[in-house]
Amino acid sequence: MAVENPNTVDTSQKIGSLLLKNPIITASGTFGYTNEYEEFMELKSIGGIVTKGITLNPRQGNPQPRIKEVHGGLINSIGLENIGIQAFIEKKLPVLKENNINFIVNIAGESPEEYKKIASICQENEINAIEMNLSCPNVDKGCLEFGKDEESLYKLVLEVRKVFRGALIVKLGSNVSYPEKIAIAVQNAGADAISAINTVKAMHVNINKNYKGFKFIKGGLSGQSIKPLALNFIYEIKKHTNIPIIGMGGISNLNDMLEFFAVGSDAIQIGTGTFTHPNLSEKLAFKLENFMKVNGYNNLQALIHSLRTEDMNKNGND
């Protein structure tokens, strides 16, 4: 692809008070805490990174096995193993700052109080942006349950909003009856943006050799095969909200990214795609810029605006 327009293009994007050099962010749980991928790519080439989900206390996570590849994707059952907010602040935050990495801290709690506490600690440490994980599948307490009921969700986000003044992003999953109600609650509670989707509840079954019983992994499905679910979810919540949306779910190439912009995303995250191609996010940043030059889009808003015109609107069922 020849570069027809030699001028630089503006790929930048704003999510609340968070400025992104471009709309490409790496997703929580797939990129570590800081500069883990610097052997594979230029970290500064992308808009930012989201840290692994961080809890108030360190977590051990689930027993092995935690990973199962399935057709078109991956089921994981990590169980939020992480070093906890204190160790993050002490050991990881300095690395992020030294390396000048634009980052968002993904947080998860077992109670509203925990979310509030972690958010306060983030505020005290002048962290610019947090992503509240309200959608990790299969947790007995916390996380997903808060993301299912719009009333308790509203209260929870409101409480966090009170203590955190940076960019507040709320991450939703598709395992809910009424996506739009949840999204509206998040917006009304004062969040700056919604990110979606988290992994989808799934199970892999392995029948034992003698057909006596079975082993299984229950966890979250990510990767290519959830893309149609993610696009649908984002399209649905976009109709009812006007805060920015950070879209994700199986994005693996430029065209996928354009699809997410079209249905309502203002930025996107790359998760499982990094496992397939460790420098995928960098490559997409490069491809997006080149694409905009070749096709004469001076800034990202113009591209997104152009993509977002629907020319067929129908409501299917079966």
Binding site: Y37, E39, E42, R66, E81, T276, E282
Partner: protein, 259 residues
């Protein structure tokens, strides 16, 4: 933004490399040797480290131990197990692979009377380790244990086969005591199935012989970020979380919590 390739050159990169296949053939029953051209990986790899290959359109890369290196190429030994390795068998000389590495930590290279043990395709990192110790003229003896005779260029000091198609018929456990005594082993390095590694580790511990084991696990990222391969290891009396892909795959035998 500059050309990405140029940027790659100015930092030590682990890939992805688009590397040419030099050779790919079945050397023993269901086991293939794959030789790939890559100066970077050849020059930076240590025995016990691995590379991850993109196979077909699979979401996850597949990890394989480096089994030997030359100036600008390296070898893998792989056993055909499923979709990914099946796909690998179709690679032809000249095909381009998408590969990252070397990943993880390798075996310690020490001046001790070492016993190197490889069981089945676990022989891969042992082959490489033998080359490295030989080149440094460090003392070692090697054991290869297989179901049936393993046809490879390498000669092991002890070649054990279950079906007796080699000099020593039986299992590793039938000969281990004798070999350790014979060779006055000071340290053991082993790669193979978990039960074999556990057996050797525990036996060696009882003799106060140090061990290093190369573990396997199901990897997602293979780079240490996803916690998919996390296990608990013993550090004194405490249990700590470690990632096989990043903190391993080589661990001190006594640190491993066998399941």
């Amino acid at each position: 933004m500059q050309n990405l390739k140029d940027q790659n050159l100015i930092r030590v990169s682990k890939g992805p490399f688009f590397a040419k296949v030099l050779e790919n053939r079945e050397i023993s029953d269901n086991i293939y040797k794959l030789r790939i051209e890559s100066e970077e990986i050849a020059q930076n790899s240590l025995p016990g480290q691995f590379v991850s290959i993109k196979c077909a359109d699979l979401t996850l890369r597949r990890p394989f131990s480096v089994a030997g290196v030359r100036e600008n190429s390296f070898d893998l030994l792989y056993k055909v197990k499923g979709t990914g390795t099946e796909w690998l068998t179709n690679l032809k000389t000249g095909d381009i692979t998408d590969i990252i590495g070397p990943m993880g930590n390798g075996f310690s290279i020490e001046n001790k009377k070492s016993l190197l043990i490889g069981c089945g395709v676990g022989i891969a990192p042992i082959d490489f380790f033998m080359d490295v110790l030989s080149a440094k003229s460090l003392p070692y003896k090697s054991i290869g244990c297989f179901r049936s005779k393993y046809k490879n260029a390498k000669e092991y000091d002890y070649h054990i086969t279950e079906d007796g198609t080699s000099a020593l018929k039986g299992k590793l456990s039938d000969y281990l005591e004798q070999i350790i005594t014979e060779t006055a082993t000071e340290k053991i390095f082993i790669c193979g199935p978990n039960p074999a590694m556990q057996y050797v580790t525990e036996y060696a511990l009882s003799l106060n012989i140090e061990t290093e084991v190369a573990l396997e696990g199901d990897f997602a990222c293979g780079t240490g970020v996803c916690m998919g391969c996390a296990i608990k290891i013993k550090k004194g009396n405490a249990l700590e979380s470690a990632k096989i892909c990043k903190d391993g795959p080589v661990f001190k035998g006594e640190e491993v919590v066998w399941r």
